[in-house]
Amino acid sequence: MFDRDDDVLERVVDRLREPIEMDPTLDARVMVRVARSSRRLDWLTRWWDWLRQPREVSIRPLTALAAAAALAGVALWLGTKTSTQGAAGLADTTVVEFVLVAPHAATVSLVGDFNDWDAATTPMHPVKNGSIWSVTVPLPAGRHRYAFLVDGARWLADPAAPRAPDDFGAPSSVVTVGG
């Protein structure tokens, strides 16, 4: 590959060709992002397919007027509802999606300081042939500790998030909302 007097470059290449072991937990982090991406793509594909389908639409003028009135009513109602929520402080929450890849799990729950670590409060739902579990939770701004409870017994930290100190002997993770 190199000239005879290029022993030093041969040694460099030998060193650089040695295998490197990457962190195996990287796989789980990738799959969490893939799962999120997959669900977004599914949703977009379905909408795109629906929009591309040709349709024949027939409507009576009276029905059109009634629909317009109903839409105006809904818009007015939503406006009122939003301002009420804002007054109650819910506007400060952010919806956070939690995802875990657990192909062999029968049940998975999200537990954390936001639901008093109660396994019954936030069950996760299987998607993609049951290999990926997901749930969305509205959380106020700040740092929250959480973990996954698999099959009611196995306590797992989120491989895709920073770890929290194991104060109680069980692994948990940290999610920061806002700020």
Binding site: D6, V8, R17, I20, E21, D23, V34, S37, V101
Partner: protein, 177 residues
């Protein structure tokens, strides 16, 4: 199961099967990213981005060429990540994970040599480092390198030659000290 089998399964909706490809190519791609970026954290980030992008555009992948195709995505991600890293001035730190896995007796010599190689590689301009790694570490033909980088074959040959010359000078300087 071949890469092509897995690509077909993922395209058919079996997202979890993609994990097999990630596990299969993680270390192989990781080596290039670590050497190119000189930092494990940056390399892992580039690797994650690479796999997610590969998943999203899997429809464009020729089933039999997944390995080469995903490597092309990584080369581009490393270019972007390298520009970010150079702005942070955090290039080429010690790879303590590799050192920790080396037997104790070899650690001192090995660590010195590793440090020297990393230092010399880090002194190369990114385009020279990229050309050197693709040619001599990943063992690619110039035509293939041209497809990945968008640079002409003669320019790549020049870059590889300049990288070798520069490394030779740098390593000779070290040996004299």
């Amino acid at each position: 199961m071949t890469d092509a089998d897995i690509v077909r399964r993922v395209r058919a909706g079996d997202t979890a099967a993609f994990a097999v490809l990630v596990a299969r190519y993680r270390d192989r791609l990781g080596r290039y990213a670590v050497h190119m970026l000189g930092d494990r954290e940056d390399a892992e980030e580039a690797l994650q981005d690479t796999f997610v992008r590969a998943y999203r555009s899997l429809a464009r992948c020729e089933e039999e060429r997944f390995g080469r195709w995903v490597f092309g995505i990584l080369v581009n991600r490393c270019r972007t990540a390298g520009r970010r890293a150079s702005r942070r001035h955090r290039m080429f730190v010690r790879d303590d994970v590799s050192l920790a896995r080396t037997p104790a007796a070899e650690t001192a010599d090995r660590a010195d040599w590793d440090e020297t190689v990393r230092w010399a590689l880090g002194r190369l301009a990114p385009v020279l480092r990229e050309a050197f790694l693709l040619k001599h570490v990943e063992d690619m033909e110039y035509e293939e390198m041209a497809r990945y980088t968008g640079v002409g074959v003669s320019a790549l040959k020049m870059r590889v030659k300049r990288a070798c010359d520069r490394l030779r000078v740098l390593l000779t300087e070290v040996e004299r000290v």
